[in-house]
């Protein structure tokens, strides 16, 4: 009896070990493949080596599986036939929803509704490797895939890349030029309001925590490069590959920022948290608060690191600093 069971267990173990070895081998292949492709993309500095198409008619039926991609297309004057939606709102993001009227909703970003994509019968599918990369092989069965990668380059690069594919380079250049002019204007406004070389930080208040945004994506580049603000003490210490760090409000004075860019999440609990913070003596004694240099941002636009989102954020900044 014992022997028989030892035998069975041994067989199960063997199966386990065998499948483990098989799995590991393929895993090794997998990782080496992905690391080499990462190197390749690093060398050329462009995404989309895997794409089979390089030219797309802008009037074709395009399905966009990333919100950034959708907004880059919109910036070029192309309305995708269908687009991914934001998971938080379960719909198109509010600041671009009016531009997407009539477009099909293709499921939450990163968890695409394949049936909806298939039902749309798109001519091309535009994705961002950062989000729907793992769905690529499934999407390729539906239509040719065009991709960008959010982790490579700035939104300008992503916009140019998409523009090159749809043959709208001029529009992209015009868009970027307009943005830079706006940025110039607004940074002068800010300098006259806060003084040259003023330091700033961006704070996001959610229901659970207070976050300080890093100098990286999404709000770092526009604040510290385009608007020429200086990162407040300690902002640089937050890794730029992370969007933010969670802090406790006790350390807020350490940042000693001349100006605070504030995003309060659009839910009642976050607003309650902010109301409490506002009445906290610690907050009231911050330099930026005492000098009335706290600016409440339209979070959707600022946190949207796409060409359209950043441009809208710049408009928002212009309004905030125009008196």
């Amino acid at each position: 009896m014992m022997k028989k069971w030892c035998g069975t267990l041994a067989i199960i173990l063997c199966i386990g070990i065998l499948s483990a070895c098989g799995g590991q081998a393929s895993e090794a292949v997998n990782t080496s493949a992905s690391s080499s492709s990462a190197q390749e993309t690093g060398d050329s500095g462009k995404a989309g080596e895997k794409d089979s198409v390089t030219q797309v008619d802008p009037n074709a039926k395009i399905a966009s599986m990333s919100i950034h991609m959708t907004n880059n297309l919109l910036a070029l004057g192309i309305k995708p036939a269908g687009s991914a939606i934001g998971g938080g709102v379960g719909d198109f993001l509010p600041h671009v929803a009016h531009l997407l009227e009539g477009s099909a909703k293709l499921g939450v970003v990163g968890d695409s509704d394949m049936e909806a994509v298939l039902g749309l019968k798109p001519d091309y599918i535009f994705i961002d490797e950062h989000f729907g990369g793992e769905e690529r092989s499934k999407l390729e069965k539906i239509a040719p895939v065009v991709s960008t990668n959010l982790d490579e380059g700035t939104w300008r690069d992503h916009l140019k890349r998409v523009a090159a594919v749809v043959g709208r380079d001029k529009e992209a250049e015009a868009f970027i030029k307009e943005y830079e002019e706006k940025a110039d204007r607004v940074s002068k406004l800010i300098a006259s309001e806060l003084g040259e070389g003023a330091t700033a930080m961006a704070i996001r208040v959610s229901a659970k925590e207070i976050r300080v945004q890093s100098a990286g994506r999404p709000v770092g580049p526009i604040m510290f490069q385009d608007l020429k603000l200086k990162p407040a003490n300690g902002v640089e210490k937050i890794s730029a590959s992370e969007p933010y760090a969670v802090i406790s409000k006790e350390v807020l004075p350490d940042f000693d920022a001349d100006a605070i860019f504030l995003i309060v999440n659009n839910d009642d609990n976050a607003k309650k948290v902010y109301a409490e913070l506002e009445n906290n003596p610690l907050w009231k004694n911050l330099k930026a608060v005492k000098n009335n240099h706290v600016y409440t941002l339209d979070g959707q636009k600022w946190l949207d690191y796409s060409s359209l989102g950043q441009s809208m954020a710049m408009d928002d900044a212009e309004q905030l600093f125009t008196k």
């Binding site: 069975t8 199960i12 393929s26 990782t31 049936e115 909806a116 298939l118 969007p243």
Partner: protein, 340 residues
């Protein structure tokens, strides 16, 4: 009435219940196949199933819907059986992979896996059951060592208590590990812990399939031992059962089964508890009768829960585990209160 007559009566009843459940299961699966963004008529579903559908229809069925449904079927059956074995082995009707901490161990294994490999697609997916099993097995071993008494063997009641304690500890460690993950991976881990059927591809089906079809027959073959356990350890030993050893083997099999199931379907806890209870009420306590019923009940519950979860709040899907708990909990209470 003598023993044989009772046995025959029970078997008849089991067959009847099994046929009814089979019908329910088929209905649920068919409804599930019909659920999705694109409306397909039941006839076109059937046509596509047997290979006469349009290319689009068969793509929807074979690429998108069927793999997920098969995973919920396999995992549901696996969880039902695993729960039944845990309850039989520990002689405690509260035992369940979730309560015993096995799921917590499996979760730890999964988080360890995504911390190291970060990739969940392709052939790597076949490895996931191994990691969850490793995690679950380590926890089972720890629980076992604590619950083992040199003179009296494995103490069933201690098994549960130790399980609860160990599971709390492991959950804390899992949480700690998961906090170090980046946001996307963390979101995945959190969804997994809530019991979200994340696997959608055939590769995941093949990752889970061998575990289920190998382990369930082995357990079924040992079902007589499970019956002996219910008599108490002394009686079982005097009837010729090597109590501790059988208990160990069955426990190991059940751990493997539940860990493989949750690896693909997410940390769904309640089925292991509810399915055996429902099955026992339907066909009585003999394991050879109620094990298959428990498997079918688990299957029906999970397939139904996942179908409800992904259609009710479209486009934001609700994890199947949440649906199971929300619908199953009250129903389970009702069962407990209406029977003596």
């Amino acid at each position: 009435m003598d023993g044989k007559a009772i046995f025959l009566l029970r078997r008849k009843r089991t067959i009847r219940v099994a046929i009814i459940l089979l019908g329910v299961a088929l209905t649920v699966i068919l409804i599930s196949l019909n659920t999705g963004t694109i409306r397909l008529s039941p006839t076109s579903v059937l046509k596509a199933l047997i290979g006469y559908g349009t290319a689009e229809e068969s793509m929807i069925l074979y690429e998108y819907r069927l793999p997920r449904i098969i995973i919920t079927m396999l995992a549901g059956a696996g969880l039902g059986i695993a729960g039944a074995v845990f309850q039989g082995v520990s002689r405690n009707t509260l035992a369940d992979p979730g309560i015993l901490g096995i799921n917590a161990g499996a979760a730890f294994g999964l988080i360890a896996y995504i911390s190291f490999f970060r990739s969940l697609d392709g052939p790597a997916a076949l490895m996931i059951p191994l990691f969850t099993f490793a995690g679950g097995a380590v926890i089972a071993l720890v629980i076992f060592l604590f619950a083992y008494d040199r003179y009296r063997g494995l103490l069933p009641i201690r098994l549960i208590l130790v399980g609860i304690a160990v599971s709390a500890g492991v959950s804390a460690m899992t949480l700690l590990l998961s906090l170090r993950l980046d946001e996307d991976t963390y979101a995945f881990a959190a969804r997994w812990l809530a019991g979200s059927v994340w696997s959608r591809d055939w590769v995941n089906v093949w990752g889970l399939f061998p575990w289920i079809v190998v382990l369930i027959p082995i357990i079924y073959y040992r079902s007589a031992t499970l019956d002996l356990f219910t008599l108490g350890d002394e009686t079982a030993a005097s009837l010729g059962s090597a109590v501790t050893r059988s208990r160990l083997i069955l426990l190991a099999l059940a751990v493997a089964l539940s860990c493989a199931s949750v690896s693909m379907a997410g940390g769904i806890g309640f089925i292991g508890l509810a399915a055996p209870h429902i099955a026992k009420r339907l066909v009585g306590p003999q394991h050879r009768h109620f094990l298959p019923i428990a498997a079918m009940t688990g299957l029906v519950i999970l397939v139904a829960a996942d179908t409800i979860g992904r259609s009710l709040f479209h486009p934001n899907a609700v994890p199947a585990g949440v649906v199971v708990a929300a619908v199953g909990g009250p129903y389970f209470l009702y069962l407990l209160f209406t029977t003596k």
